[in-house]
Amino acid sequence: MIKRHYTVFAAILTAVVLVGMGSLSLNKKVNAAAEGSITGTVKLSGTPPHMRGIDMSKDPYCTKAHANDQPKMETVVVGKDQGLENVVLYISQGLSAADAAQKPSTTPVFDQKGCMYTPHVMAVDAGQEFKVITSDQTAHNIHPEPNPMTGNIPWNRSQPPGAPPIVQSWKAEEIAIPVKCNIHPWMHGWHVVVKGPYATTDESGSYTIHNVSPGSYTVTAWQEDLGTQTAKVTVAAGAPAKADFTFKAK
């Protein structure tokens, strides 16, 4: 008797759930159509600072990995026609709570390659999961040191060669969390934890923030060494808004 009740109940439940999800995905589509984006380039004015070479002789594996290139620091990486790499752009004002709450479905990857971090700067949404992987044949430890005030918990864990990815996420917004490998002290990168859509510039300094619903926003560009700049943009449905930034070399 009771059993039958269950089946009926279950049936109804599944139906409701299905309908709900259907409708959700439906209006998501609607949004996507209406969503705009912010694009632009970030450049450096003035002579790029000298990036000091890294001596990896401590670990022969690392030296071998860089047998035919001199590893350099990545504090300020300037690409062709002064494009600034590793600049994180995010919307600092004007974001609706709903958009801020939306999590991207992607999983950023933070790779340890040739005893360096690629990417050197990884942007991630608060609460979004990311993967830490290692392509090296030497053990690393990943030691992010967030600001205790933010509520992000510091952790310190090593990853031997061939170990499976470490999947983590940062619960609170924080710009920016330094990440170090103590076994290879020169290894240094950043996790930039933002709310809402974000982008990171490529080697030519250009970027595009996708999935921005129409409205006017303040976009902030963050560079680990040169600080931040902001710009006001208005995003219309369909048409991408433009925001270029220029950092002055120190």
Partner: protein, 594 residues
């Protein structure tokens, strides 16, 4: 802390299960409880060493189920560096504190010291019971750290500051892990202090009629000396642990100097002294080594004598030597710190007592050897392990000559030579003492004999296996193999790796051989053949109890009266070849007490 009316009011045997087996006031039950704790601890500690050895032999070997012991220490069941160090720390702590200190000292001492002095119990049974349960709590707290936060501490059993005092930034397990470690050790110290209090008082005040100090068996002397050492050593370690905890929880700076930069972060602490911890720790730490081994001297002598059917060449010289060891053990602790930034002058000051301490040790060994000469040795599991103890103690002892010299410490400090040294002279030797004691006293403790054949098999595998494991350690150490490495990264250590593979195999086999002992112990406990009252024809008081195991009050209402020195064997003109301490028979003793 000084009321004994309960002690003796409680001398009507308890009837409830709890009163009988759990919170028992009976020193015999408490002794068995300590033995049980040590038994669990040693199996666990050995298991940890297996994992470590596997990792040292085959660094990236996935071990199924490895993650169970560490929340995030084993991605893909491959041991991470921190996991290895955590296992190492736990192995050391568990073995030193909860096995080498509890089994030969607290376990056998609790069970046999009161019987051998002819007392019906310890004077403060309450403290005795608390002593065990506090120690047990310490063990639980320590093991609990496996399942909290990012696992147990990785600072090694010596927990050098400031690594142990800076908190999580220092590495996994350096936060909560260290706090739990320190709490566990502080509890352990309290437990052992209460135990020592009982041991000392029993030896001084509970001796039965005729039991003069010189008539005490060597085992009692060993436990007595050990408990005095324990009283001073643990009373120093406990406050040290509390200061360490305060550095963690209250933000004090006892052990952390200023201007430390860890992971690019300037640490808030200021003005601490890092050597302070080392001084406090080793002031405890070196006596602790003797706390682990001196009961071994007592047990081995006590086991060997009935099997040699003769007293030692000199009862008193043995006792004087043990006392000398105990006293010297407080003047030598600095030899752990030769290259640790201590004033080089004090290095020399510490090196001489360290060298001199070999003299009483040599005397002890020579007394054993000299007594073997012209004896009528009986070979059985117990005597074999006693002889094995002597061999181990010699092998571990000679390497002490090297480590006592600061100039050689330059080459050997923190190498596998040290690991080999203390494993042989302290760890394995003490284990052999424990085995000897077990095979010898089991009939009295459980009223059943252990299987002698299995015992001998166990001995041979353990004896040969031990040498196969720890002798190579010395060679590797000479060649500069550094200890506490989870893998051998430096180029010059690559050739050592095959040796480590071999050692691992030996370790696994030797470890497996211990299962024979486990089986023998459990099987004999229930199905062993019933033991006669005095299976070894021995003379000391534990063999004149009316039953095995002895009744609740040990002597069935009548305390024995002692007429003789403890070891009267091979006396001419006596009825048998041995005279019990309790037999009123008149004999002309030729022993050196005359």
């Amino acid at each position: 802390m000084h009321d004994i009316s309960h002690a003796h009011a409680a001398h009507h045997a308890p009837t409830s299960f709890i009163g009988k087996y759990v919170f028992s006031l009976d020193h015999k039950v408490i002794g068995k409880q300590y033995y049980g704790l040590a038994f669990i601890a040693v199996l666990f500690g050995m298991f940890l060493s297996w994992l470590m050895r596997l990792h040292l032999g085959w660094t990236n070997l996935p071990i199924p189920g490895l993650h169970l012991l560490s929340a995030n220490g084993a991605p893909g069941n491959v041991m991470t560096p921190e996991y290895y160090l955590q296992l190492m720390t736990m192995h050391g702590t568990i073995m030193v504190f909860f096995v080498l200190t509890t089994a030969p000292f607290a376990a056998f001492g609790n069970y046999f010291l009161p019987i051998q002095v002819g007392a019906e119990d310890m004077p403060f049974p309450r403290f005795n019971m608390m002593s065990f349960w506090i120690t047990f709590a310490g063990f639980i707290v320590l093991v609990a750290s496996f399942f909290t936060g990012d696992g147990p501490t990785l600072g090694g059993w010596t927990q050098y500051a400031p690594l142990s005092a800076v908190g999580t930034v220092g590495g996994p397990g350096e936060g909560l892990g260290v706090v739990l470690w320190a709490a566990s050790i502080a509890l352990f110290c309290i437990g052992q202090l209460l135990g020592s209090l009982n041991f000392i008082t029993t030896t001084l005040d509970m001796r039965t009629r005729g039991m003069s100090l010189w008539r005490l068996p060597l085992s009692v002397w060993a436990w007595f000396i050990t408990s005095i050492m324990g009283l001073t050593a643990f009373a120093v370690l406990m406050p040290a642990c509390i200061l360490l905890i305060l550095d963690h929880l209250a933000g004090t700076s006892f052990f952390v100097p200023s201007n430390l930069v860890i992971n690019d972060q300037l640490q808030p602490h200021a003005g601490g002294s890092t050597l302070l911890w080392q001084h406090l720790f080793w002031f405890f730490g070196h006596p602790e080594v003797y706390i682990a081994i001196v009961p071994g001297f007592g047990i081995v002598s006590h086991v060997l004598i009935p099997n040699m059917r003769r007293p030692l060449l000199s009862h008193r010289v043995m006792i004087y030597s043990m006392v000398a060891l105990a006293i010297l053990s407080y003047m030598v602790y600095g030899h752990h710190m030769f290259v640790s930034g201590m004033n080089p002058v004090s290095s020399i000051a510490f090196s001489f007592p360290t060298l001199i301490i070999t003299i009483p040790a040599t005397i002890i060994v020579l007394i054993w050897l000299g007594s073997l000469y012209g004896s009528r040795l009986r070979i059985n599991s117990a005597s074999l392990f006693a002889l094995g103890f002597i061999s181990m103690f010699i092998s571990g002892g000679v390497s002490g000559f090297f480590l006592a010299q600061p100039s050689l410490d330059i080459m050997l400090h923190a190498t596998y030579f040290v690991v080999g040294h203390f494993h042989m002279v302290m760890a394995v030797a003490a284990m052999f003492g424990i085995f000897a004691g077990t095979y010898f006293w089991f009939p009295k403790m459980f009223g059943r004999m252990m299987n002698d054949t299995l015992g001998k098999v166990h001995f041979w595998l353990t004896f040969v296996g031990t040498y196969a494991i720890f002798m190579p350690f010395h060679y590797l150490g000479l060649a500069g193999n550094i200890r506490r490495y989870q893998a051998f990264a430096p180029d010059y250590m690559q050739p050592f790796i095959p040796v480590h593979k071999a050692i691992t195999v030996a370790a696994l086999l030797t470890g497996a051989a211990q299962l024979i002992f486990v089986y023998n112990l459990i099987h004999s406990r229930f199905w062993g053949k019933p033991a006669p009252l005095n299976p070894w024809e021995a003379t000391s008081l534990e063999w004149s109890t009316p039953s095995s195991p002895p009744p609740f009050d040990n002597f069935g209402g009548k305390l024995p009266v002692v007429y003789h020195d403890p070891y009267q064997y091979g006396i001419e003109g006596s009825s048998g070849d041995y005279v019990m301490q309790t037999s009123p028979e008149q004999i002309h003793t030729k022993s050196d007490e005359a």
